[in-house]
Symmetry: C2
Subunit: 341 residues, 2 copies
């Protein structure tokens, strides 16, 4: 195994000889190579075929010069073995054919074994790890219990998450049963990804910021904690990511994670102080800044680096995924700025 | 003029003999009376006809027992005299026929005189004020410059506000010119509403929480400040409302407002401490809680009241508008709890 590079060192808050940088959705629609593949294959096709998933995962590595790869996959893939029915309509996002609407729906969920039912993801990881340049680790990932539950209940993307919150408050026992199931599934799935070769794991709780702090603590935090514990048992660092957590960042961090991901709605130094110096931090450039002029990209990137102040444990990233309309050059500029500081 | 009731006293942080309560969108789709009217009239019809707008405004007053009325209108009505083309597709939200896409579009905006071009709103205010029970004041309102600009640029509702942010960063001069225009319009429109009889004014910056703190300070704050200054010149209290401001609440409050509105993503006591004791505060129950059982509604309502601790200057409200699927009984229960504390 080659010496750990900047990314893994930063996960452990070791001096890393410069700030590492990678981007959520760095394998995606902003890249011409990806769009070319997508003309021939659906999103689910790319996920289901380890050789294609590996190809997409590797596309941005040389092109951008990032410090880590992230597996091309979707957080909702576990919905297939869960029998919920998953599809992606063009430009519409994910659609769930059989959403969860009752305690009976939760009780009827079939058992899922990630080693078997998501074996194609683990196979893609082995493909990627064999092909990655030395020193570039692969990050595995999964959706967090809340974010998965919100898709399962809403039946797709949502603006207000009203159905999710209604279910949570009206059917608390079924809610907790659902999140326990998802936490076990996700925790074991993440651990399996580490065993297949992922050197770090990210838990995406992308939409949990829609909650009030007391709802987070009561209905979500124990389940995120369980998923992270199961994942960490595999011996690799876990990044705990969400957007919109400025109102309950302490509670979010308390659920676990070696690295806490924050979006752009809070200054990085303020966030790091609230998270505490015992954690690494990942973030926090607004992806929309990359649609603007280079001068703004430069100012904002340098501002985040200044707020991190060279302390060990900062991983540069966007506050959420790369937007499809992002110019490749903008991402390349950020990588150069971060590496050249 | 009758003695000021609880609501206006709380706006001035005077002991009000109990916490006042009203709800954003208390005149709206959750009420059978409103839905009955909507079967015969479009949203814009209701807005354009002062007698209908007044009828809708008054519907929830007796039914809920709230301490203030809020005018039935839409924040996007100024888009009609601005020539942007406004319509509401069923279940789709607002649609802007001629969105702003360039500096030339900004320069071409025609002058708007709220006294003339939005005279029907002022007429509706006079209708409402004549019909309101003694001691129940009417709140006038307008969209804040940022939130209006975001609709004008996106052409409707948005999830990520990417086009808005791109315009802001790429065309900063045109952006500031647009927001200056909107701030003047909105400020004069609000002042005119006070002159027509509104006893308080609310500036809705509903979507500004999508921004990074430095973007808020640079691209938005001066314009919100200007709008609030113009509105306050009419001599009535101004409520400055947004959602998702936990990351930059101090900056948001610094733009002005006698009362600062906060959503549910931050505990009320934490928010009030950050805003400072020189301001009143409005909020902060998650509207989705009203879709759940009465026991949860009660716990959450009492928790907010406990966090306010009976200090002068708390106006109970939701953190955003009433959801259409809310039972009337849930709102009635909150009013009883707040008044009965």
């Amino acid at each position: 195994m080659p010496a750990d590079g900047r990314f893994l060192k930063a996960c452990r808050r070791e001096q890393a000889g410069g700030t590492p940088v990678w981007f959520m959705r760095q394998a995606g629609r902003y890249m011409p190579e990806y769009r070319a593949l997508r003309r021939r294959h659906s999103i689910l096709d790319l996920c289901h075929h380890p050789d294609l998933a590996a190809e997409v995962t590797l596309q941005p590595i040389h092109r951008l010069g990032v410090d880590a790869a992230i597996l091309f996959a979707d957080i909702l893939l576990p919905f297939e073995p869960l029998g919920l029915g998953l599809s992606f309509a063009e430009g519409e996002g994910p659609q769930i054919a059989r959403p969860i609407r009752s305690a009976a729906d939760v009780a009827a969920l079939p058992p899922v074994d990630p080693l078997e039912d998501l074996a194609y993801v683990l196979e893609a990881i082995r493909h990627v790890v064999a092909a990655l340049p030395a020193g570039i680790p692969l990050i595995g990932f999964a959706g967090a219990p809340f974010t998965l539950a919100s898709y399962a209940i809403e039946g797709g993307a949502s603006r207000g998450f009203a159905a999710t919150k209604r279910f949570m408050h009206t059917e608390p026992r079924a809610w907790h049963a659902l999140l326990e199931r998802l936490a076990e599934l996700v925790g074991r799935y993440l651990a399996a990804q580490a065993e297949a070769g992922a050197r770090a794991l990210q838990l995406f709780d992308s939409w949990v910021g829609c909650l009030a702090p007391e709802d987070y603590r009561e209905y979500v935090q124990p389940h995120s904690r369980r998923a992270i514990e199961l994942a960490r048992a595999a011996g690799v660092p876990v990044i705990h990511f969400a957007t919109d957590t400025a109102g309950f960042l302490e509670d979010f961090a308390a659920a676990g994670g070696d690295v806490i991901g924050v979006d752009w709605r809070i200054p990085l130094d303020v966030a790091w102080q609230r998270i505490g110096s015992a954690r690494a931090i990942q973030g926090n450039l607004d992806p929309a800044v990359l649609l603007g002029p280079l001068s703004t990209i430069e100012t904002r990137t340098r501002d985040i680096l200044a707020r991190a102040g060279g302390r060990a444990g900062h991983i540069f990233n966007l506050g959420h995924g790369v937007l499809p309309e992002t110019p490749v050059e903008a991402l390349q500029a950020v990588v150069e700025l971060v590496h050249g500081q």
